[in-house]
């Protein structure tokens, strides 16, 4: 017999959360529907577009390809958790300054993914940014200003 709820506890954007979830609940669904953090978006169902990117235990991951149950005990950051009150994260600020977003739909995933790209490679080159973003699809910007944004953020973040 499947489907009995299980309790998970995790830390999300610095807050401890305990919740009962069905084991077949995706982490992205849990974040959007149960925690009402709707900045994490769903853009595909084959885990390619990256709109659902979050940070899980320090890594950027696609929350639509992970069960909420798998995140039991984890530390999670979503797009809602990276600004310091009113002060945007340098990646958010760079997207603003370089017009790295248009409709805004891919943006949370793009920002979350890019932060880890830069953290893991502070002197990231343009080519590495373009290659590094292959798991994030944007239909509006042609990526031109996204690449510029990530480059700028990299310098601010200490590359």
């Amino acid at each position: 017999m499947g489907g009995q709820e299980m309790e998970i506890s995790l830390k999300i954007n610095g807050k401890d959360v305990k919740a009962d979830v069905k084991p077949n609940t995706l982490l992205s669904t849990f974040i959007r529907e149960d925690l009402n953090l709707t900045g994490t978006h769903i853009g595909c169902d084959t885990s390619q577009c990256g709109a659902c990117a979050i940070h899980l235990n320090g890594d950027a991951v696609k929350s639509c390809a992970i069960l909420a149950a798998q995140a039991d005990g984890a530390e999670i950051t979503t797009i809602e958790g990276i600004a310091n009150d009113d002060e945007l994260h340098p990646m958010q600020q760079a997207f603003h300054e370089n017009h790295g977003l248009q409709c805004g739909y891919c943006t949370p995933g793009m920002v979350m993914s890019s932060i880890k790209l830069v953290e893991n490679n502070p002197n990231i080159s343009e080519e590495e940014i373009r290659k590094g973003l292959e798991g994030n699809i944007c239909r509006c910007t042609g990526y031109h200003n996204i690449v510029k944004s990530v480059k700028q953020a990299a310098t601010v973040m200490g590359g």
């Binding site: 077949n24 959007r32 953090l37 709707t38 900045g39 994490t40 978006h41 769903i42 853009g43 595909c44 169902d45 084959t46 390619q48 577009c49 709109a51 979503t78 797009i79 809602e80 600004a83 945007l88 958010q92 997207f95 603003h96 300054e97 017009h99 977003l101 248009q102 409709c103 805004g104 739909y105 891919c106 943006t107 949370p108 920002v111 343009e126 080519e127 940014i129 373009r130 290659k131 973003l133 292959e134 994030n136 699809i137 944007c138 239909r139 509006c140 910007t141 042609g142 990526y143 031109h144 200003n145 996204i146 690449v147």
Partner: protein
């Protein structure tokens, strides 16, 4: 994020809308949940053409199911087409019925056959698996040539043909005569590949009926909520406007695919009354592939007649345009009035004729996608010009210059109905040549050759018509709606401003650009301006955002409303300052009495208007809140030059875009940063069409490229830095001088890319390659050419 300094026209003001998107607090339709809401799963046909029967009895009893509806449950109007096109013999287009839920016959894979409403989406999906559907398959029509032969089967029995209309534009006799006498004829057969728009936010809709008031609310992912209210309210559900509110909140990209009224919108609205609970539906991506309207899909044969010097004499075009299985909202207008009217391009071709047969097939409906008709026209013009130049030994640049409409010829009447107001095609070409370092191409090519690679450069000196459109003109051509725009400018008592616009921003940055118009005109910072859009209860009226019309039509409506505000403000100022209204001048936001140091700010005046203790009551109403409708006098005509440079690996056929330059004339630029961003996005979609994207069907009507595993979406590493510039000629018939920038990138670039590929391969004898120019196609072309030689 306060904006420092000037925020008027011509300044790259950072976008006001960014903050909420950057912190994850955008408000998209799927982010909205209504109290007591239900969830919907649309069961869709897995057969492309079949009579079917359906049994939902088991599913109806499944856990969590609230209600299941099938086609016969929903007796409502047909989903309408917004544009009637008449055939050349005068008969109106064939317009098959389009029920929101298929009743007994399905005509494409993806058509809705049952609506399962449940307490949760998983419950609805579980129940859907218990529905028995019996398909009796009918021969499937996929290929448009097959469709012309009625004996192979009919998509719609009741209309006795698969041809929706057989339409023409231009002077056929003059064209035939010119062709028979021409020194040179160039011919080309072209397929403009079928594309899937793929806005990153999938469609979503929530119907919310309030029984106590009889009020319906539809939340939907739409580029034009008022149009949806009109089409769905008046034609499908029979609901009057005052009882139907349509809200299109933040929308995650559209590119045309969210213009149209879709069945799901009518279904959730209607069903929320039937079950007296809110009904929510959100599309999966794989569902979007088979339910969002597709784009392009033309098959065209084209002939260009030239004199011995390479001057164009005539252009003859025959096109089959795929409509899919039903007529979507604008489908009929795309391959006719948005296509054939563009066939002069930037050239003085004196005689043009175009015949278009639009065809029903057992595929997803096809409608406008970024550019809509104009990319198809531009592609064939710029490809045939390229081929003619090669055949006649004229350079790609020279043949274009030879045939450009000269700057002193404006206004220029084309032989295909349009009258261009302004342009300077040599200027954009010159600037692009410089930006692309055309002079350095030979050296770059030599370097490629040294490395065993092929290199090519390709041009597109395109023109498009946008800012749609004069209502009277389009009305005479069959449009069933007006194409004006509406705006209301409300100056609040303390001097801040809210603009209510019928345009809809889904990435275009209206909240910033429109605020800049206010800043420029009324002299206040954009921080003092809020742009409101997307809610039929807030906005007086609207025709929405598509066809690069928001600034040229919507922006002009805002300007007109501001003119009324200013006129009234002057009268108020004159009264308060005891002067004549004629002597009041508006300078930098101050209403001054000419020649004196007496003035009032906008805030002073609005306070006087809302606290009218000292007020010309006999002459004016209190308040400072004006509305305007603007109907454009003509289309606008952006144009420009796109230059693409590619390197090709002859061993694998891989095409690498090495340079993409676009110098466009989009008229007056309000926010250069936003305009460039629009062009970048358009270029990416154009390069995507040319090299990557293709919606492929098998002969049974199954979509083979039905997910991101199989439909090649452009990624960041498919591109290099774009080089973008502009050369401005002003639009002569709107006050801002603006033309439009949303579609130029997608319209101009595909032929530049393919021309570059053909240029690289031309030394091997390759004359054409179809889109998308995948590495295998290029490799095959190289091999075939080698075998031939």
């Amino acid at each position: 994020m306060p904006d420092g300094g000037s925020t008027g026209i011509g300044v790259s003001v950072k976008r006001k809308e960014d903050y909420r998107f950057l912190v994850g607090e955008g408000n998209y339709t799927d982010d909205i949940n209504r109290p007591n809401q239900t969830h919907t799963y649309m069961l869709r046909s897995s057969s492309a053409h079949a009579k079917f029967s359906i049994d939902t009895s088991k599913a109806s009893k499944a856990k969590g199911v609230v209600k299941i509806f099938v086609g016969t449950d929903m007796e409502v109007g047909s989903i309408p087409c917004g544009w009637q096109v008449d055939s050349k013999d005068g008969t109106p287009m064939r317009e098959p019925a389009h029920p929101p839920i298929a009743k007994d016959k399905v005509r494409y894979v993806g058509e809705i056959i049952a609506v399962i409403i449940a307490e949760s989406l998983e419950d609805a999906k579980n129940a859907a698996e218990l529905i028995d559907v019996n398909y009796n398959d009918i021969p499937v029509i996929i290929d448009m040539q097959d469709a012309l032969d009625n004996s192979k089967g009919l998509v719609h029995d009741e209309i006795e043909s698969n041809v929706c209309y057989d339409w023409e534009l231009g002077d056929s006799e003059a064209v035939d005569k010119a062709i028979s006498e021409a020194a040179h004829i160039t011919s080309l057969d072209i397929r403009n590949n079928r594309l899937i728009p793929n806005a990153m936010e999938t469609r979503s809709a929530i119907g919310d009926y309030e029984h106590a008031t009889g009020q319906y609310t539809l939340y939907t992912t739409s580029q034009n909520p008022h149009v949806i209210r009109l089409l769905m309210g008046a034609f499908v559900l029979g609901l009057p406007e005052h009882k139907l509110r349509v809200i299109a909140p933040d929308v995650g990209g559209g590119f045309g695919s969210k213009i149209f009224h879709y069945a799901e919108e009518a279904i959730v609205t209607w069903a929320s009354n039937k079950i007296r609970r809110p009904v929510k539906w959100t599309s999966d991506r794989s569902e979007a592939f088979i339910s969002d309207a597709h784009g392009r899909d033309h098959v065209t044969s084209v002939k260009l007649a030239l004199d011995k010097d390479g001057k164009f004499l005539a252009l003859k075009v025959d096109t089959l345009a795929n409509m899919g299985a039903y007529l979507s909202t604008f489908a009929s207008s795309v391959p006719t009035y948005l296509y054939a009217t563009l066939l002069a391009g930037t050239y003085t071709t004196p005689a043009i004729h175009c015949n278009v047969k639009s065809i029903f097939t057992n595929t997803v409906p096809v409608d406008a996608y970024r550019g809509a008709g104009r990319p198809e026209a531009t592609y064939l013009i710029e490809r045939i010009v390229d081929k003619a130049a090669r055949e006649m030994g004229i350079s790609q640049v020279e043949i274009r210059r030879k045939n450009f409409i000269p700057v002193d010829a404006f206004p220029y009447q084309t032989p295909v109905a349009l009258q261009y107001d302004s342009g300077n095609y040599n200027a954009t070409l010159d600037a692009a040549l410089k930006k692309a370092d055309y002079e350095g191409f030979a050296a770059r090519k030599a370097d490629s050759v040294k490395r065993g690679m092929l290199r090519g450069i390709g041009f597109s000196t395109y023109l498009e018509a946008c800012g749609i459109a004069p209502s009277a003109v389009v009305g005479s051509l069959g449009a069933r709606a007006g194409l004006f725009e509406c705006a209301e400018v409300r100056v609040h008592p303390t001097g801040s401003v809210t603009v209510f616009t019928g345009s809809h921003s889904h990435g275009q940055g209206h909240e910033t650009t429109f605020a800049q118009l206010v800043s420029e005109k009324l002299g206040i910072s954009t921080d003092m301006v809020e742009i409101s859009h997307g809610d039929t209860n807030n906005i007086p009226f609207g025709m929405g955002t598509y066809g690069s019309r928001s600034l040229a039509v919507g922006g002009e409506a805002i300007v007109k409303a501001m003119d009324k505000v200013i006129a009234k403000a002057k009268k108020i100022a004159a009264h308060v300052m005891e002067a004549s209204a004629d002597d009041i001048e508006l300078n930098n936001g101050n209403f001054e009495i000419a020649g004196t140091d007496k003035s009032m700010s906008l805030a002073d005046i609005s306070l006087a208007a809302y606290v009218p203790h000292n007020y010309p009551h006999e002459e004016l109403e209190p308040g400072l809140d004006e509305k305007a409708f603007y109907d454009p006098l003509n289309f606008t005509y952006p144009g420009g030059c796109h230059i693409c440079e590619v390197e090709i690996n002859p061993n694998t056929g891989e095409v690498k875009v090495e340079g993409m330059t676009a110098v466009d004339d989009v008229g007056k630029v309000i926010n250069p940063m936003i305009v460039e961003g629009q062009i970048h996005g358009g270029l990416a979609q154009g390069i995507g069409q040319a090299l990557l994207e293709n919606a492929a069907y098998d002969s049974n009507g199954q979509l083979l490229s039905g997910s991101y595993m199989d439909y090649a979406m452009p990624r960041a590493d498919n591109f290099v830095d774009f080089k973008v510039g502009n050369e401005v000629t002003l639009c002569t018939h709107n006050s801002l001088g603006v033309k439009g920038c949303g579609e130029v990138g997608a319209i101009g670039s595909p032929p530049a890319v393919i021309n570059a590929v053909v240029d690289a391969l031309s030394e091997l004898g390759v004359e054409d390659i179809s889109m998308p120019a995948t590495s295998e196609k290029v490799w095959n072309a190289i091999n075939q050419a080698k075998n031939k030689n």
